[in-house]
């Protein structure tokens, strides 16, 4: 017997406005308890919903992410489901074969978790701490910039070009990340600064 259907059918018979608790008053207390024990709770009832945008193509479909735990309450949040946002004017809840599998991107076995370092000639990556990585990269950048920066051209015009180190910016970072990256690269005088739009 399908308990959920039978319950829905019963409520319909009992008329609208009959609260579930009144079932007990009508002598169905045991059936109610049995039903609760039997039916698996809806997976998403205890999750937190967050609005986001699909990171793939430029249609930028609205998505809803469901997590166990709420970041806004300072909790650890584990995304358990992602679906299309029906309120979004463009996709109206639909997703393509890529967007429908977005949770697999978030949970990919090849998501990177730790800074890694490959020594010259080595055949493997090894863990490095963030602090060591930042210190080392900043040092490499500073030394190269100081050695190779072109301050003026032959005519003595300030040209401020650093051509020996380049930066390739992403196509899926936010505008805000892009602005921070822009400030960093242009202030250093990196002229070999481009993004995916080029290709």
């Amino acid at each position: 017997m399908n308990m959920e259907l039978s319950r829905r059918g019963f409520l319909k018979l009992a008329g609208t406005g009959v609260a579930a608790t009144s079932l007990g008053a009508m002598g169905f207390g045991e059936a109610e308890a049995a039903e609760i024990a039997h039916v698996r709770p809806f997976k998403l009832t205890t999750t937190t919903e967050t609005r986001n945008t699909c990171p793939y193509c430029s249609v930028a479909c609205g998505i809803i992410m469901y997590s166990k735990g709420d970041l806004r309450k300072g909790e650890t949040a584990d995304i358990v489901h992602i679906e299309g946002d029906a309120d979004h004017p463009t996709n109206r809840g639909t997703l393509c074969p890529k967007g429908a599998a977005l949770k697999d991107f978030v949970k990919s076995p090849t998501r990177l978790q730790y800074p890694m370092h490959r020594k010259p000639g080595s055949d493997k990556f090894e863990r490095i701490s963030w602090e060591d990585a930042f210190d080392r990269i900043a040092r490499l950048m500073k030394d190269d910039r100081d050695a190779n920066f072109v301050a003026t051209n032959a005519a003595g015009v300030p040209v401020n070009r650093w051509t020996t180190v380049g930066l390739l910016a992403a196509s899926a970072t936010t505008n805000e990340t892009a602005w921070a990256t822009f400030k960093f690269a242009k202030a250093l005088g990196m002229v070999g600064f481009d993004n995916q739009a080029r290709v």
Partner: protein, 815 residues
């Protein structure tokens, strides 16, 4: 896009050429389906392959890749010959009537002024006749043989239906059907939309492909109207945003441009950028350039940018070449002239053409830093993966840092979609392991460098130590803080010029939008075209009102569109010279006698009189350009050019190879193949189950499309004894791939200039990391040459050979 995804429902005819929206932009393509179902709109697909977009089309026409200009020129010629022109629109809103200087001409596939040695044109004759009053001389009757319209007709004359068939391989009857359907949209009450993507951009003349369609749309009166426009379907979720924000070698934010060495000071820089109107009474909005530029310099360097130091103009690099684009940088790297490289969310080893060259280039680096949420081939370019990455690991002396970043699900911020909507999103998940936001990583590197320069001094520390970095926590700028900087604010009280006692914006407050920016240092603004995104009303990018009055598809209350929340660019062109909509059922704007009203934010001053001010306010002319003057390097009109690697010679000039002004590096010339050795026309494309090199890390998508393949016709398979599902080797002058052959009816041989042309389709998406089987991509084959104007590589047209083969070694998935 000039319009938006949701606007496509308003169209009568969709032309998908240079793209495959049903597979690459599926949920945007639904608006094509809506237009077909609800308006009876029709769909034309012109493509070398019978794609899934083609499978739901009303008319499909095959075309050889790299010949779109000939096709589009043929359609324009057809429309003009058959009087299918929206005359009132063309005469009022384009430069058709403008007279062109004597001396300009076109012969043997070349425009006037070609210098073969420099591979460049002297473009001095590609310009208007200027009268004594300083304005362009025009002939509104279009009788003068030197007016743009007559020069255009002359230029298009050779592109007959027979010529289109000869160059493109499109059967003449199919071409005529396409041209006939398109020409019907010259009616003021019929509209066509163009949806294109990398099928048009990835050519050595990509910019001219797009220009060809833009001109056709102008002739038909389809720019600025509902259901019309030029709609670039951008490939990535924020590629529009990164372009708008100027993360490119030749750009600053909001399409301000980097100075060159010739611009020795700020005044010289400004002298070529404050464009005066070329016709009386026109807006020429770039006259405001200085306000945006000074506000930008203030956003970058705050108090260090002052009137007395040219607003810190010398803090900017000055370019000695047009751009240090990715091809140039990888050429320099290949040459051993680049020491360090930072790749943020980008996989150049698989994305740039000529993979062997990329591998060699990366191996020349002293150090490489990658920032990604997923493992990438680029970060492991030194790792040997048998046939899939046959490198000698021990000999590669590059130090590599692979830094883990958060992904979309773990950060707040905005992305700009193809329709220019800046949509805010929120973090919902905890980053894995020690993954960090890019903003944190960038801040850490910046703060360390700034400290080092403060302590040690060094090469020109000024732009670094003075960079504005006013965040509550300098270690971790928040997305809101950065968004507010992009919007801009008043640095001192902004008073009303008409009434100095009236304060319009108080010091420290966000400006409402870019109309409040000043050139005297009293405002700052990171990116003027985005201004209005986060003002005193709050974060407009987070707005979620999805009401759409009268179902126009505009959604003005949904997030924020640049500029000024405008949803359709050039929307003033949707109304005639009296300000009445061309099509009352598709009204966007209307002149009410004193101002513009309607469904969208007017793309013109709200009180600009309809018969006086032209709709194309960013142009000095106030009109759109059918003749581009000297603004494009390869011609003021689009002219047929073959790809650098083509199975047939250019019929206009058999000696001319590719685009005559495209830059080609010495090392790459020797690596260009010819059709004797490489007889087949290769092309590249996406599959609907995958997104670039990301989804091969997803188990679902890897299961849907597990393995690399190449697609060929039944005819070629028979000729070369290739079985469906059998292994083949495909090789070009630059490299080879091994793949399973997919023998299909979707690709058919074409006949071009009397010769049978076979096409070999090579999808991207595979590499040697992730959950899918290991595979190759088209960049192992494609040539290292870019578009003459913007240097986008010619990844859509290259030459290959093919033969039956055996399987590559070690093709199991890595994870």
């Amino acid at each position: 896009m000039t319009n938006s995804w949701t606007d496509i429902k308003n169209t009568d005819l969709v032309v998908v050429m240079g793209g495959n929206a049903a597979e690459a932009h599926p949920c945007g393509f639904k608006w094509v389906t809506e237009a077909k179902a609800n308006r009876g709109a029709r769909l034309i697909v012109v493509d070398p392959r019978y794609t899934r977009t083609a499978s739901v089309s009303d008319l499909y026409a095959p075309i050889r890749q790299g010949t779109d200009i000939a096709f589009l020129n043929g359609v324009m010629r057809y429309c003009i010959d058959n009087d299918k022109v929206q005359w009132e629109y063309v005469k009022a809103f384009t430069n058709a009537s403008y007279l062109v200087k004597d001396g300009f001409g076109y012969k043997d596939g070349l425009f006037t002024g070609y210098d073969a040695e420099k591979r460049d044109y002297d473009r001095s004759t590609w310009d208007y006749v200027i009268g004594d009053d300083g304005f362009v001389v025009t002939d509104p009757t279009l009788q003068n043989p030197r007016c743009v319209w007559n020069l255009l007709k002359e230029h298009l004359a050779p592109y007959t239906p027979d010529m289109v068939e000869r160059i493109c391989g499109t059967p003449k009857d199919k071409f005529l059907k396409v041209a006939g359907m398109i020409s019907e949209c010259s009616s003021p009450t019929k509209t066509m939309t163009s949806m294109y993507a990398l099928g048009w951009t990835q050519h050595s003349k990509g910019s001219q492909n797009i220009r060809g369609m833009a001109m056709l749309q102008l002739i038909l009166g389809n720019i600025g109207v509902r259901g019309g426009g030029m709609n670039a379907l951008r490939g990535h979720s924020n590629i529009q945003g990164l372009t708008d924000l100027g993360l490119m070698s030749h750009l600053l934010t909001g399409y301000l441009t980097m100075p060159t060495e010739k611009e020795v000071d700020f005044a010289t820089y400004m002298s070529t950028r404050q464009f005066k109107p070329l016709r009386p009474g026109q807006t020429s909005y770039w006259q405001n350039y200085k306000k945006f530029m000074v506000s930008f310099q203030k956003a970058m360097w705050g108090d260090a940018a002052r009137a007395d130091n040219d607003w810190a103009f010398n803090y900017l690099s000055k370019l000695d070449v047009p751009s240090y684009d990715v091809l140039r940088v990888f050429e320099l790297m290949y040459d051993g002239k680049v020491n360090g490289y930072i790749c943020q969310g980008f996989n150049p080893l698989l994305a740039f053409p000529n993979r062997a060259k990329n591998t060699k280039a990366l191996s020349n680096l002293k150090w490489l830093v990658t920032l990604d949420p997923l493992d990438t081939e680029t970060s492991r370019f030194w790792e040997n993966h048998g046939d899939f990455n046959p490198v000698d690991t021990a000999s590669i002396q590059t130090e590599v840092f692979q830094l883990p970043t958060t992904c979309f699900a773990e950060d707040d911020g905005s992305l700009t979609n193809s329709g220019r909507w800046l949509q805010w999103h929120w973090a919902g998940g905890t980053p894995p392991g020690e993954a960090k936001h890019d903003t944190y990583t960038i801040a850490q590197l910046f703060l360390r460098l700034r400290d080092l320069y403060r302590k040690e001094g060094g090469a020109f520390p000024d732009p670094i130590v003075n960079l504005s970095w006013e965040y509550a926590d300098p270690n971790n700028p928040t997305p809101e803080e950065l968004a507010k900087e992009i919007n801009g604010r008043a640095l001192s009280d902004l008073t009303d010029p008409a009434d100095p006692t009236k304060v319009l914006v108080a010091a420290g407050k966000q400006v409402t939008n870019f109309s409040q920016l000043r050139d005297d240092g009293s405002t700052m603004c990171g990116c003027w075209i985005y201004s209005g995104n986060f003002n005193e009303q709050g974060n407009n990018m987070a707005r979620r009102d999805n009401h759409d009055p009268d179902d126009t598809g505009a959604y003005l209350g949904w997030t924020f569109a640049w500029p000024l929340n405008r949803r359709t660019l050039y929307n003033r062109a949707s109304a005639d010279l009296q300000g009445k909509p061309w099509d009352p059922s598709r009204k966007l704007l209307e002149w009410d006698g004193s101002k513009w009203t309607g469904y969208d934010v007017p793309d013109i001053a709200p009180t600009a009189k309809p018969d006086e001010v032209g709709p194309f306010i960013m142009n000095q002319e106030g009109t759109a350009r059918l003749f581009a003057r000297g603004l494009m390097r390869d011609g003021p009109f689009p002219a047929h050019m073959e790809p650098f690697e083509s199975p047939v010679a250019n019929v206009f000039n058999p000696k001319m190879r590719g685009n005559p002004v495209a830059r080609v590096f010495e090392t790459d010339v020797a690596q260009l193949g010819t059709s004797d050795e490489f007889p087949y026309a290769g092309t590249s494309y996406r599959l609907t189950e995958h997104f670039h090199f990301w989804t091969k890390h997803n188990r679902v998508n890897s299961a849907l499309q597990p393995e690399f393949f190449v697609e060929i016709s039944e005819e070629l398979a028979k000729e070369k004894n290739i079985d469906n599902g059998g292994w083949v080797r495909v090789w070009s002058k630059r490299g080879e791939v091994k793949a399973k052959a997919m023998v299909t009816k979707r690709i058919r041989p074409l006949t071009c200039d009397g010769k049978t042309v076979h096409i070999v389709g090579v999808p991207l998406h595979w590499g040697f990391t992730g959950s899918a089987k290991k595979g190759f991509g088209p960049n192992s084959l494609a040539a290292f040459v870019g578009d003459a104007n913007i240097e986008t590589p010619e990844s859509k047209a290259f030459l290959v050979n093919i033969e039956p083969s055996t399987a590559p070694k070690d093709r199991g998935a890595s994870a």
